[in-house]
């Protein structure tokens, strides 16, 4: 390309490439010839070089990070989480730990809908089963709250009716706190598994259920007990699918409901009924 074919406008298109030394040899030569022959273009290129030097100062600008930034991000994420929770009443996670240093506290907001039947799963639900000693149910407030503290790096999975709803990788010392809400009429079951052991937690529904069932799996018994006594039931046994017989007739206490089976049924101080292998 000769000087006559590279007009000013075309030459300007090559300013950056020429400045950076990436213009191919032939074009570079043509560009230089054009510059030599055009004093206005020379001036323009000189000011372009000055501009490039000044642009280099941008990277040195010190920018202060505002103290409210982390909170702004956390608030925005929470809004998204709340909207998602309202649309889909299963498990969502709440990220308040962002605004604070130290160990993040994970709050799992669970809206449990549905209940578990012996003939098969119905709509959604999560039956938490906890097996670790560090899993506690708090019944002091309007909702049952599951508290768990991991003593080591481990994985917690939460499922219902055989469907995995959430899997969490927990660092040592991570606290998990979740209200367990059941908006359905009958009991809902959650299975919470940690380090290979599973705890089933039955949360009573909004209405007392009168079921005629007197036999079924231990899970079904836990749900029936939650329905009848209107209290959470925690099931920590080796085999929650084992078939048992029960009866609530005659005003039996929870401890007396399970007939002739090798399980202890204890009503704890917080009102939770705990079923364990004897």
């Amino acid at each position: 390309m000769g000087t006559t074919t590279m007009n000013q406008e075309k030459a300007r298109e090559f300013f950056s490439a020429y400045y950076e030394g990436t213009l191919e040899a032939g074009l570079s030569q043509t560009f230089e010839q054009r510059l030599k022959a055009d004093s206005q273009l020379q001036d323009e290129y000189r000011t372009f070089e000055a501009t490039m030097s000044e642009l280099d100062t941008l990277k040195f600008e010190e920018i202060e990070i505002p103290s409210f930034l982390s909170d702004r991000i956390a608030t925005r994420l929470e809004e998204v989480q709340e909207k998602a929770k309202a649309k889909n009443p299963v498990w969502t996670l709440w990220l308040r730990g962002l605004a604070f240093g130290g160990v993040a506290t994970l709050a799992i907001l669970g809206a449990i809908a549905g209940y578990y039947r012996t003939e098969g799963p119905s709509t959604s639900q999560i039956v938490p089963t906890s097996t670790s000693d560090s899993l506690k149910l708090d019944t002091s407030g309007p909702n049952v709250v599951m508290n768990y503290q991991s003593s080591q790096r481990e994985q917690m999975s939460i499922s219902s009716g055989g469907t995995l709803l959430k899997s969490l990788n927990l660092d040592a010392g991570t606290r998990v706190k979740s209200p367990l809400e059941n908006d359905q009429a009958g009991a809902a079951l959650f299975e919470v598994s940690v380090r290979g052991k599973t705890t089933v937690i039955a949360i009573p529904g909004t209405q007392r259920q009168t079921s005629n069932a007197t036999s079924g799996t231990l899970k079904a018994f836990a749900a029936a007990m939650a329905d009848f006594y209107r209290t959470p039931v925690e099931l920590e046994v080796a085999d929650a699918e084992k078939t048992v017989n029960w009866s609530f007739e005659g005003g039996r206490s929870a401890a007396g409901a399970l007939q002739g089976a090798p399980y202890s049924v204890v009503e704890l101080d917080n009102g939770v009924i705990e079923i364990k292998d004897r």
């Binding site: 300007r12 298109e13 300013f15 950056s16 490439a17 323009e44 000011t47 372009f48 000055a50 501009t51 490039m52 000044e54 642009l55 280099d56 100062t57 941008l58 990277k59 040195f60 600008e61 920018i63 990070i65 505002p66 409210f68 930034l69 982390s70 702004r72 991000i73 608030t75 925005r76 994420l77 998204v80 996670l93 990220l95 730990g97 962002l98 993040a104 994970l106 959430k166 899997s167 969490l168 990788n169 927990l170 660092d171 991570t174």
Partner: protein, 197 residues
């Protein structure tokens, strides 16, 4: 292992598996740099924070689709840029500082600045003034050009990284950046003329 140095890919994998602490760590690791980029685009702390917050929401919603074909930072820059452009579209046009307007007196005359012959004591002041003028000039560029100038000259991204972040061919990035630099040259030349006696 110090959380600070956890590899992005490891944090992303854990976050994709539902580990919220990993997602929190990912945010903590990148929020400052994200803010600096957003601030350079907006020149406003509130708006920059909104851009960053919106960007991390989009990251959160789309993280399950992130396959690691580009670096996480490249992906984040794309999201930040899109958030900035989207937020700007929604807002009313904000008054921008014109280099010329700043130098207009009430009578409409351009205010002349007298160069102090004693350069050494004022060198720093002049340098800061020039830097501010460059920043102001960048703020006057069309938003897309501004993003590219900031990515290249402030964030020190390569042409390839910018092309990946903006999903453009590299040739397009180079030609648009050249055009942005020519525009800036015009703005800064005008500014220099106003400062001469």
């Amino acid at each position: 292992m110090s959380e600070r140095y956890l590899d992005d890919q490891m944090l992303i994998s854990r976050a994709q598996g539902g580990d919220r602490s990993a997602f929190n760590q990912l945010i903590r690791k990148h929020e400052a740099r994200a803010y600096q980029y957003a601030y350079r685009l907006t020149r406003n702390p509130e708006e920059a924070s909104d851009v960053v917050a919106e960007a991390f929401v989009r990251v959160y919603n789309a993280l399950h689709n992130f396959k690691g074909q580009s670096a996480f930072t490249t992906w984040l820059y794309r999201i930040l840029t899109n958030c900035f452009l989207d937020i700007r579209k929604k807002e009313r046009s904000r008054p921008s500082i014109s280099l010329e307007a700043a130098l207009l007196t009430p009578d409409g005359e351009l205010e002349r600045q007298v160069e102090d012959p004693n350069r050494t004591p004022h060198e720093e002041a002049e340098r800061n003034e020039r830097e501010r003028n460059v920043e102001s000039a960048v703020a006057m560029l069309p938003e897309y050009q501004r993003a590219m100038i900031v990515m290249y000259h402030a964030e020190m991204m390569s042409y390839e990284e910018i092309a990946s972040a903006l999903d453009l061919p590299i040739g397009t990035v180079k030609s648009r950046l050249n055009r942005a630099r020519l525009s800036l040259r015009e703005l800064l030349v005008k500014d220099e003329e106003l400062f001469r006696i």
